[in-house]
Symmetry: C2
Subunit: 342 residues, 2 copies
């Protein structure tokens, strides 16, 4: 049976006191090398395991960091998490991952759960922007522990964030399509309640106007970020009086749907129609007709978010700091929009 062995057990065996055993494990204290190694050895032999819970309770520091994402079964978030983990684990932090499934209630529950677990910080990609979520996040950040946004942020004062420049991403993609000779560029826009999608749309608009191309309302279709939605949106676009000759999609999945629809209609890509997606999902480069996309550097984003947390936790907690890190998006030109090298 369990028979958990504690520092008292090993103290008794060595005829010393628990305090000494404790000191042996927290090397900083002054303790003779002899007893130190003796303690460590016997602890090992007795199969002793430090109880992090007790440690955390006593120290007021759990070494847990909470990570909240919409979902984990997405290449993007999985890579962000990987980045976070790699950065944090070497510093002795363990991460606890929570998923919201884009549900506001779950999001609030997750925050509560993490606070209950006494995490030392929270890294969050927000799903929702209700007033309630906003006020809870504001309160957590200003009263308790460091909270850092990544990818999807709320614009709240005093809260740090690590994002990519979605505006620039949208701009680059659109500009590229213009350079390829496309003049009637449509946009599959995502959920406009999320700032990232708004920014991509704005980048698209700016690129058009900078290039003296008229913005047409009818060329912007709001779609979910999945294949089927992309297909339907494209069908709609192709049915217009004056159909577009290119699509910049705010999501790779919708871009794939667009391509499927175009193929069904026997429209040649990229000769007669160009497509650019967003997110650099693995399949975009696997396709025979590889899909141009905007890389968001998810792993680097995670690493950066972790670094900001570490800075935050190490400074004097009275001195709140706000750090807004904005990563640069990278346009990956592939077959779906490359007329030169085709």
């Amino acid at each position: 049976m369990p028979e958990k062995v504690t520092i008292y057990d090993i103290a008794k065996k060595l005829d010393i006191t628990a305090a000494t055993v404790s000191r042996a494990f927290n090397s900083n204290s002054k303790i003779s090398m002899a007893t130190r190694s003796l303690v460590l050895d016997t602890a090992n032999k007795m199969n002793y395991k430090q109880n992090k819970l007790a440690q955390a309770l006593r120290n007021g520091k759990s070494n847990y960091v909470g990570v909240i994402v919409p979902r984990i079964d997405s290449n993007f978030f999985a890579l962000v998490i990987r980045g976070i983990e790699e950065e944090l684990q070497s510093k002795g932090y363990q991460i606890i991952i929570c998923q919201t499934h884009e549900d506001e209630k779950r999001e609030i529950e997750n925050i509560t759960t993490l606070l209950n677990a006494q995490v030392d910080g929270i890294l969050i990609s927000v799903s929702n922007a209700t007033k309630e979520t906003e006020s809870i996040i504001q309160q957590v950040s200003s009263n308790t522990i460091p909270l850092i946004f990544f990818d999807r942020q709320l614009h709240l004062e005093g809260i740090s964030s690590v994002t990519i420049n979605d505006f620039e991403g949208g701009y680059l993609a659109t500009e590229h399509l213009i350079k390829e000779g496309c003049t009637k560029i449509a946009h599959l826009a995502g959920d406009q309640s999320l700032a990232i999608f708004k920014s991509r749309l704005n980048g698209y608009k700016k690129a058009l106007s900078d290039n003296k191309i008229e913005y047409r309302e009818e060329y912007v279709v709001h779609t979910k970020s999945n294949v089927e939605a992309g297909k339907q949106a494209t069908e709609k676009l192709l049915g217009l009086h004056n159909p577009p000759d290119a699509i910049f999609s705010s999501s790779d999945f919708a871009a794939l749907g667009a391509i499927q629809e175009l193929k069904e209609k026997n429209i040649a890509i990229p000769e007669d129609f160009c497509v650019v997606g967003f997110g650099n999902e693995p399949f975009t480069k696997f396709m025979e007709l590889s899909i141009s996309s905007v890389n968001q550097s998810p792993k680097e984003m995670g690493e950066m978010a972790a670094k900001v947390f570490l800075e935050q936790i190490n400074i004097n907690t009275n001195l709140k700091m706000e750090k807004k890190v904005v990563l640069v998006p990278e346009l990956l030109i592939r077959k779906s929009s490359n007329r030169q090298n085709n």
Copy 2:
């Protein structure tokens, strides 16, 4: 500043004792409805958060469950985790995810970390099968907490597991290729130190012999599970005196590599060559030439693993039980191997 509020703070304010406050939060105890709701209300107003760490320490139960996977940025494992989470979260468990990156040292570290964190159980997909890992796992399982294997197991007595029938998966895939008229079927075999890959190879062999097809050593190429390795292996196969007319790949990524190589050599798929992968990665159905694959039902696997854990934790701990759940693989026939409906 933090100013953590405890049950004592709210007890003082209400002029009652901390025990009563505690009881209010653990509804089972006998306590008057009046005080109960009073406590809950004021606790809420004071922004009180239960300290799960203290609770866990006191109760000897953390409500944490550790999950160890090779990596999280894989569709398969992400979905397994999702299944685990959905099953466990409703029961009040929080999961802590660790990645091994297929590194034996990390694997052992992860186990230690989780034990230190006082998890109530460990769900693990093993990366490695060294003697050391084996003995640690054996020891954890028999002396401390429930440990359950999923997908990748070690064959140790008394330890439960949830896996899919990889043998059958290999058999189904190969049999299907035979039915499509292929007679010279090659196999891209994975790391044979992992049982899952051994089983897939064995299923392949059995399907051949059941159909009176001679097994040829030269048709089995051991490759890593990535695109490049699949390409190279296929190049090698095509260079044989008597090259194959089909490939059953133990990995979807290698299958994709195979297809890329075949296309470069202008070999028509599926007319002149059929390919079947394993894992049902998202891209397999996204491709224009969609790839046949074996579905491993990752989400269900995760749910099942969680359920087995819950059973284990709820029975008398003296009574160790071993439960081997084997899920049935599902062959998904797509364009890369479908000669009938093409």
